[in-house]
Symmetry: C2
Subunit: 413 residues, 2 copies
């Protein structure tokens, strides 16, 4: 039986998970690909650190030692930041190796280039681990929804920010306290900036956009707001309204343009994200045939992420070379998606109402805080009148007290 020789770049949580999974799941790998898989080399940063690695494995701090190995089949990359990862993976492709990466920042920027280069080299790229850890959303979009046209994707794609929002609500903690706990539990990075400011979720959204729509929107057109401004008071107020804050990354195509946001959003009980708590991730995909499906599971962690990479190993070895997707999705314009369609928002720091009578306001919920029903056009005007306005969209079923009263009145008539 022949052997698949693989190298790992990085031996942090994810790299170690991949190593241990390949060791523990030899039998399953043989059953799936008909070959033994052997980790022949690992690129590390610090030679002094003790690690539980077989003595036969080449452990090196020099990428040249790895790229120079004869008969290397696959390179797994689990480092962070764009460089030197991108350069390493390009060289691996040029050498004729399949590559499998967990690096969302790098891949959201250079994914297209890597996939094109892989196609030239007749090898494949696995990147399931770049989005939502153990949740197989990438392969679901790539392999299982080839006939469906995707119209929109929404996701809770960052476990750390979701954990913080859950802790704040459940345990009445401040943002800082919840962040500390996330760090103590090993969820947040030492520098949690990208988790809480939305950049991490943005990188993942861009990877999803590339697969689902064949392109990415310009960064300048994507509204990205972090969760740092959300207060316990706002969370408690939302709770009273039956709503929860979730940090939602969202993309859809309307009239041939991609619209993407990564913003704190309020969801009602009927929304599939309402009960996605703690470090869980969830992705909702809307398509023309299925309607709406949601995948939920662990967004991070040693073995969920390693699972994504090792399942990718089966895919890259079995599939023909990764195709360059030029999936030009059909535009599905729904009536309720037009800009004059109204939806609900929680607005804070609203000092001045519009003189028009067209926006419906709730009673004042707290100082300068209201729930409103308005169109996007009207909202823009409201921003013009209120320099410091903060708005959170409300997803799922929701209605204002005044509408409820009116409905009751109609029923009792």
């Amino acid at each position: 039986m022949s052997i698949i020789k693989v190298a790992l770049l990085g031996f942090g949580t994810v790299g170690e998970g991949v190593y241990r999974t390949i060791q523990s799941h030899q039998e399953e790998l043989r059953a799936a690909i008909g070959k033994n898989v052997e980790v022949v080399a690992i690129l590390i940063k610090n030679k002094e650190k003790k690690r539980a690695i077989d003595s036969e494995v080449l452990i090196t701090t020099d990428f040249e030692d790895i790229i120079g190995l004869p008969d290397l089949d696959v390179v797994f990359e689990a480092i962070v930041e764009k460089e030197p990862s991108f350069t390493y993976l390009k060289r691996a492709l040029l050498k004729g190796c399949h590559i499998i990466t967990a690096n969302k920042e790098m891949f959201s920027h250079h994914g297209k280039e890597l996939i094109e280069l892989a196609a030239e080299q007749q090898v494949s790229v696995g990147f399931e681990a770049t989005v939502a850890g153990g949740v197989p959303i990438i392969q679901t979009l790539q392999q299982l929804l080839k006939i469906n046209n995707v119209s929109a994707i929404q996701g809770i794609l960052n476990g750390t920010s979701n954990f913080i929002l859950t802790e704040m609500r459940e345990k009445k903690q401040t943002f800082i306290e919840a962040l500390k706990l996330a760090q103590q539990n090993g969820y947040a990075e030492a520098d949690p900036g990208n988790d809480i400011n939305g950049c991490d979720a943005y990188f993942k959204l861009m990877v999803l956009s590339g697969i689902a729509f064949g392109e990415q929107p310009e960064l300048s057109c994507v509204k990205i707001n972090g969760i740092t401004d959300i207060t316990i008071e706002q969370i408690e107020l939302a709770d009273k309204l039956g709503l929860r804050f979730k940090h939602i990354a969202s993309i859809d195509r309307k009239e041939d343009r991609l619209h993407a946001t990564v913003i704190p959003t309020l969801v009602s009980k009927a929304h599939p994200f309402y009960h996605v708590e703690g470090v869980e991730n969830a992705v909702n995909v809307r398509t023309d045939l299925i309607g709406s499906i949601t995948l939920q599971g662990p967004g991070a962690g040693m073995f969920p992420t390693a699972s994504a990479m090792v399942e990718d190993l089966v895919q890259v070895l079995q599939s023909p070379a990764t195709e360059v997707k030029s999936r030009k999705q059909k535009t599905v314009v729904k009536k309720d998606e037009q800009t004059h369609a109204t939806s609900y928002w929680l607005v804070c720091k609203l000092k001045k109402r519009l003189s028009l009578n067209s926006i419906s306001y709730s009673d004042q919920l707290s100082e300068e805080v209201y729930a409103i029903k308005a169109s996007k056009d009207q909202l823009v005007k409201l921003y013009e009148q209120n320099a410091d306005l903060i708005t959170y969209p409300i997803l799922g079923t929701f209605e204002l007290e005044s509408e409820r009263k009116e409905a009751t009145l109609l029923l009792t008539r």
Copy 2:
């Protein structure tokens, strides 16, 4: 460009959905498989009925007309009952056609035989549509979780019974009223027996068992209870305890034996099924690497089910012949899964408590109704003492009032 010629057996909701989807998604099919797809023949029951079918398509009530066609590539089957579907599909395989079926009853019985025959004939079998409509659970298990060992699967697999339970709770309707509404909305069959007695969910569970564990448990070992005995009073009582009734099909492997049930179950707010309402389906899969993932979406309907079958078309044309899975899963025995481990139950018609002091009881919640904490062994003894006992397992986080008080006491000490 060459043409894939397909025949449809059955032109009910699903058959018509497949026909219309193939018509409307020619471009997507060409992009995915590089060929045009043409429906050349349709098997119907009643020749008199008007249907919107192209005049070039052969419409016949005689299967011989279809099986006699030259150059047929794929046969889609969307009929009900085991026969004559099984015979038709065997003959299609023997002719060298790929087959794609939505028939869970037939496939749960004869799936293995069809897959083996297909392997001999070097063709493939698609059966995504047999379970959970538009939710791609079959392909996820088959294609995306090849290295993960599945330890358990739980599902809300019947939209009709879930719709009835939702209606009863939300609108305080009786079982009969809710069933009527399900029939009016076209969710339930004219004969809804298999929906509400659990057989439909059982068939689907057996299909999942075949893929995940490579075998099915004996029918005699599977506990199947329908939802017909659930009363509004029980639903309201559960609601007060923060619980909801769901009709859950469940299978796991412990100590190399499969354990399967299809029973009304109470789930708490933290469980991913708590908010799966109406005709939605959901499947939760536990594996050794990922942990737990949940897929949720429309379990029925013309286009979701057609989507499953047309996506299968891409799979059967692209993949090598369906392998006969002899996936012998590793046994993962968890400590909390032993029979002496305690869990929570709602018990009705409890006339006689056990003399042992080992079961914890709540205060009486209603006449002869209690929440209890007990092991399976203890529960068996409780059944011995109470001939009419009805028990519902409680999933998710739950505790008895007495335990809550004790915890509070400990905290305040």
